[in-house]
């Protein structure tokens, strides 16, 4: 007989759903049942079965007070609320069918969750778009700032070069004005090199190409490059080598970092000195640049390596990418560039540390110094710029080279057929044609003819690619006479 207390309970629920009720004794054994278990997807229990064996969901209940477990998913189609009701003689487990309500609730909840998931996806996409937009905006601002800075940086030395060369053309200045022109041209070169390296660091295109060089020669060459800038300001440019040995470094990158550091030191030093110190520790090459300049204010120390973070108070110009680019270059060599110390009106000390990494490369030939012997090599120069052809002719003819020249690739084959050519020297861009479009063909027809490519600051990756395309050597622009003669003389 269905206990009156349960009737009252069902009336209280006032839902009119199907139910299945189990009476259990104090030992949790099922002693009676009411209703239809099949309507809930359950089989009828045998009297005496433990309620926790029949319904394992109840396994951790202590059955000391009434409880409810809503929306118990018996299986895919049947859902019920479980009620435990304590009574005087027996206790009862009441399973109230909630399958219909479940279906509706599930539908609404599914819709709400799907909607929420879609919203979150859109929200995340919007956030990512916003970040990309901010990065793009920042990048555009940096590019605009770079262009503005470059206009100034390129314009200043160009003004000197044009002005002095015009005065020279009118015969109003002596040969000393050439020094000014040369110095400003070197300044332009450094600015362009920094800009190229900055672009590569932004594009994350950086690789290492280790070469052997004697440290004293490397430092000496650096000093020669920068000596005039210091001299112009009445500063002493000093060097100190605590070691002199063959070192293995990425020469262009290391040189560029040190040029930037020394240039900066000269810019921000009004009197006294700039000093380059080289030493070797157990695992590293150490270059230290010390100056007696204006120093860096404490509140600017954090931004010293940020792009556009120019910190000095000197009147000197600067594009603000030198230190940023230098640090990127140092990192790309697994090295470290940092500001060791700086005191206002006393000076600054930057240190570049490059880990020693001796690669499997040809040892440095001690006599690998440019020899200015007379050469009788016949060189075919290909460049679409007549001025460059003139310049190269002026550079090479006095050393005995026999020069053949053309501004177009179309003449190359005729010249090679009619003249005895020992080396082909070509620029990459020849009007609408690139040298790598015909290099393989020439190499195929004239396999013994060395082809040298003139290229502006090619990366190590590009150099490797060029060699695959038939070029035997690459010489960097702007060309230096000694280096060019030395390279040609190898063939």
């Amino acid at each position: 007989m269905f206990p009156p207390v349960l009737k009252q309970f069902l009336l209280k629920l006032n839902e009119g759903h199907g139910y299945f009720c189990l009476g259990i004794d104090k030992n949790l054994s099922i002693v009676e049942s009411h209703g239809n278990p099949e309507s809930l997807g359950l089989f009828p229990p045998e009297n005496g079965t433990l309620i926790t064996d029949y319904l394992p969901i109840l396994i951790s209940e202590n059955f000391t007070e009434n409880f409810k477990i809503p929306f118990f998913n018996i299986n895919e189609n049947n859902v019920c609320d479980i009620h435990f009701i304590k009574c005087e003689n027996l206790d009862y487990i009441m399973l109230v069918n909630k399958s219909e309500i479940f279906q509706v609730t599930q539908k609404y909840q599914q819709f709400a969750h799907d909607d929420n998931i879609s919203k979150n996806k859109f929200k995340r996409l919007a956030e990512e778009l916003n970040v990309a937009k901010q990065e793009l905006k920042k990048s555009n601002q940096e590019k605009a700032a770079l262009i503005a800075m470059l206009s100034h940086e390129l314009g200043t030395p160009l003004t000197s070069i044009i002005g002095y060369s015009e005065l020279m053309l009118n015969g109003e200045l002596d040969k000393n004005s050439l020094k000014v022109i040369h110095r400003n041209a070197i300044h332009l070169k450094h600015t362009i090199e920094n800009t190229l390296l900055f672009g590569r660091s932004q594009a994350k295109e950086s690789d290492i190409h280790l070469e052997a060089t004697r440290s004293s020669e490397f430092i000496s060459e650096l000093k020669d490059t920068l000596y005039h800038f210091a001299e112009d300001k009445g500063l002493a440019l000093m060097t100190e080598s605590l070691a002199d040995e063959v070192i293995y470094i990425d020469i262009p990158k290391t040189r560029q970092i040190l040029i930037n550091l020394v240039n900066n030191a000269i810019k921000y030093t009004e009197s006294g000195f700039v000093k380059i110190v080289f030493s070797v520790s157990n695992h590293s090459y150490i270059f230290t640049i010390i100056d007696s300049g204006i120093g860096i204010a404490e509140d600017k120390l954090d931004t010293v390596f940020s792009p556009w973070g120019r910190v000095g108070e000197s009147r000197e110009a600067g594009s603000g990418i030198g230190l940023y680019t230098s640090q990127k270059l140092a990192n790309s060599m697994s090295g470290k560039l940092y500001l060791k110390s700086s005191k206002k009106d006393i000076g600054s000390e930057f240190e570049l540390i490059i880990p020693i990494n001796k690669p499997d490369i040809k040892p440095l030939e001690e006599n690998n110094i440019v020899t200015q012997q007379q050469s009788h090599l016949s060189v075919l120069i290909v460049d679409d710029d007549e001025d460059i052809l003139d310049l190269l002719t002026f550079m090479l003819e006095p050393s005995g080279f026999v020069i053949h020249r053309t501004t177009t690739n179309e003449d190359i084959d005729d010249i090679l057929k009619t003249q005895s050519i020992d080396v082909l020297l070509t620029d990459m861009n020849l009007g609408d044609v690139r040298a790598d479009s015909f290099s393989k063909k020439i190499k195929h027809s004239y396999p013994k003819l060395p082809i040298i490519l003139m290229s502006a600051m090619p990366s190590a990756k590009l150099k490797t690619n060029y060699k695959k395309l038939g070029f035997d050597a690459i010489i960097e622009k702007p060309l230096q006479r000694n280096k060019l003669i030395s390279l040609l003389s190898k063939f």
Partner: protein, 162 residues
């Protein structure tokens, strides 16, 4: 000796609780998301040394409403916190569920969907916050099965006091 233990999976909706249980019990995964309403129960028996432990897994709906969990967490003997590594809002579940005597209940945390590496949003700050509530944290994937069985079994050992 056979021991039965109630283990509740707790986490925000769509973090993958049902999928983790399905992967653990049936080695299966479905891309289709079907939200859970109420609670589903699954059982897995594991033998650890001389013991046979029956894990009664309570897959509780990730429905965030005051008092929602109180009917289900009563008497739980183990907890599996489930987070979605690609969804930072799911990391806040600890603050939304209150469990009496939480410290005394063996628990692990699964940061799920570790197969979605490009969408991963869990960082060290979030991890530190999570560690305030649970010390055992694993990255899991209900899709690939990575760290699922091992993690559930690890909790089983904790339940045995090992």
């Amino acid at each position: 000796m056979k021991i039965a233990k109630k283990v509740c999976l707790i986490g925000r909706f769509a973090v993958g609780k049902t999928s983790l249980v399905r992967q653990y019990i049936e080695n299966q995964f479905s891309e289709k998301y079907k939200t859970t309403v109420g609670v589903s129960i699954s059982t897995k028996v594991i033998d650890i040394d001389d013991h046979s432990i029956s894990m009664i897994l309570w897959d509780i709906a990730g429905f965030e409403q005051e008092g929602h969990y109180k009917h289900y967490l009563r008497g739980t003997q183990g907890i599996i916190w489930v987070l979605d590594g690609t969804e930072p809002e799911s990391f806040d579940i600890f603050e939304k569920v209150s469990i009496p005597d939480l410290d005394s209940i063996p628990a692990i945390c699964l940061v799920n969907k570790c197969d979605l590496k490009d969408q991963w949003r869990l960082n060290e700050d979030s991890l530190q916050k999570i560690r305030q509530y649970v010390s055992t944290i694993h990255y899991s994937s209900a899709k690939t099965g990575e760290n699922v069985e091992d993690s559930f079994n690890e909790l089983a050992k904790k339940l045995l006091g090992q």
